[in-house]
Symmetry: C2
């Protein structure tokens, strides 16, 4: 399965609309413009109309077909962008030219925000040539040290993203350094408990196994070498749940910079999928993230 | 710098000898035989002579030039293999056909073992095409949750391996998910404290910076994007120190299986470098590990 299937899903069905908070950012404008041109999503650009128009002209970005909602003040622009999603006038939210902290404060605003009873978490989707499955990683950016209960929420959020992307019964690997339970490593105990909850039917819509080392989760030959009989996952994981943000982020950055790949990321657990791309992401990754959000919004 | 420079160093100078504990393992025999043939190291095979000779014959492995010390009992073979190193009759130790736990117990034996006042730690060396430096990773296999003091020992051990490999002033990146100190993430506080100890001259023979995200440590373009002025490391790290074994092992396995590379690993902090290869390592990695041990033993 490849990222093209996500792009295809985004292009099918009813067109979704992304609301961009403080849209006067040339990278974000270009991504949104490309997503529009490629039939992936409509957009409403909330921010300073003058700056948006100037920036697009300077960078040769077409604004044809994109709505602009003029709001020169960044904080107000963020609030209005979020409210459009909250009120159902847009289907997903995207961060523009503002710092992440202020953006997230608005996302969580009690009146117009996108808070739900689900936990917020970040899901990254990777296509890696040679690996048969799309890989859904969580959490590499948002939840620092998830508790056992929070890990179950990470699984649920990642699984719902996988479902939206057409992976009907994702295999969820709860990762650790080792594949056996060691009481001195709490993440292995928690991984086994999550696998037990799956066995008891308390986690559904997926298959959960853990603790698993990275190679047992993603490398069929390593799983064969390790004689991993009786395991539910033998190098064929769809979802990777990390012990904490340190392991998640370092692995994610390693995959992003050292492994040939295509990827996209969203924040989930919100009323609507939310996109926070980083400047260092390339344009394709930004467009992929919009497509991923659109697919999740369609579900 | 490439792994060839390590192989060259091993071939230069006086030939070092590896003592193999319970050598009746076809993969280990082949690696040792190749290392001998390629001029990297001599070897003494401690174990069941019958099994060693049979296994070599069955697998077409040449034992020409390799000593055999007949000891059919595995535990005794391990003790004698370690003692050869302890007594200076061999320069490095290698695990053969025995489980890691028993092997390590012998390595740490109070009478004949290789214990020193330094902490034992594991160092992996990666050559990654496109990255200008050899990367020295620690700890991905041995030290589960290093304390601040233990992290300083990880640095010292990895730096001494880097020195032996000809990296005179290695840049040590203490990794985390983020590049700023966050009191809620103890690894960022510890990373900053290690950097401070370097600034005060308490850690020498290297340059220490932290906390650093993986991309700031290893991707010059990302460092430029993030405007990392005033940092000592901007995408040009030699040594990567991980927050804990979960982050270390998962990243290491990701690099081992998803990134094009050449690598080798040793256990250090012992009286002599010690090699524990895994069956799933390919032959080149096993030979590289012997070469790495020989280079460290020469220092």
């Amino acid at each position: 399965m490849t990222f093209d299937s996500i792009l295809d899903l985004a292009r099918q069905g009813s067109r979704k609309k992304v609301s961009v908070a403080a849209a006067q950012d040339s990278y974000v404008l270009e991504a949104v413009s490309q997503a529009y041109t490629r039939g992936i999503a409509d957009a409403v650009l909330v921010g300073s109309r003058d700056k948006i128009v100037d920036m697009a002209a300077q960078n040769g970005i077409s604004l044809d077909g994109l709505e602009i909602l003029d709001e020169p003040d960044d904080a107000q622009a963020a609030l209005r962008a979020v409210q459009l999603v909250h009120d159902g006038q847009a289907d997903m939210l995207m961060k523009g030219h503002m710092d992440t902290r202020s953006f997230l404060r608005t996302v969580l605003d009690k009146n117009v925000g996108l808070r739900t009873d689900r936990m917020l978490s970040h899901v990254c989707v990777f296509e890696i040539p040679g690996y048969d499955h799309l890989l859904f990683l969580s959490d590499v950016a948002f939840v620092p040290y998830p508790t056992l209960e929070e890990k179950q929420h990470l699984i649920e959020n990642a699984v719902s993203v996988a479902h939206a992307c057409g992976v009907d019964l994702p295999k969820v690997a709860v990762l650790a350094a080792i594949e056996t339970v060691n009481p001195k490593m709490s993440c292995t105990v928690e991984a086994a408990e999550l696998a037990r909850r799956y066995d008891e039917g308390l986690i559904s819509g997926c298959i959960v196994d853990g603790p698993l080392s990275f190679d047992l989760a993603t490398v069929p030959e390593a799983a064969a070498h390790k004689n991993a009989t009786g395991r539910k996952i033998v190098g064929d994981a769809d979802v990777l749940i990390f012990p904490d943000i340190q392991a998640g982020n370092i692995t994610y950055k390693c995959m992003s910079h050292m492994v040939n790949h295509r990827s996209g990321c969203i924040l989930t657990g919100t009323l609507a999928p939310t996109i926070l791309t980083s400047r260092s992401d390339d344009m394709e990754t930004k467009v992929n993230s919009i497509a991923l959000a659109a697919v999740v919004a369609s579900k």
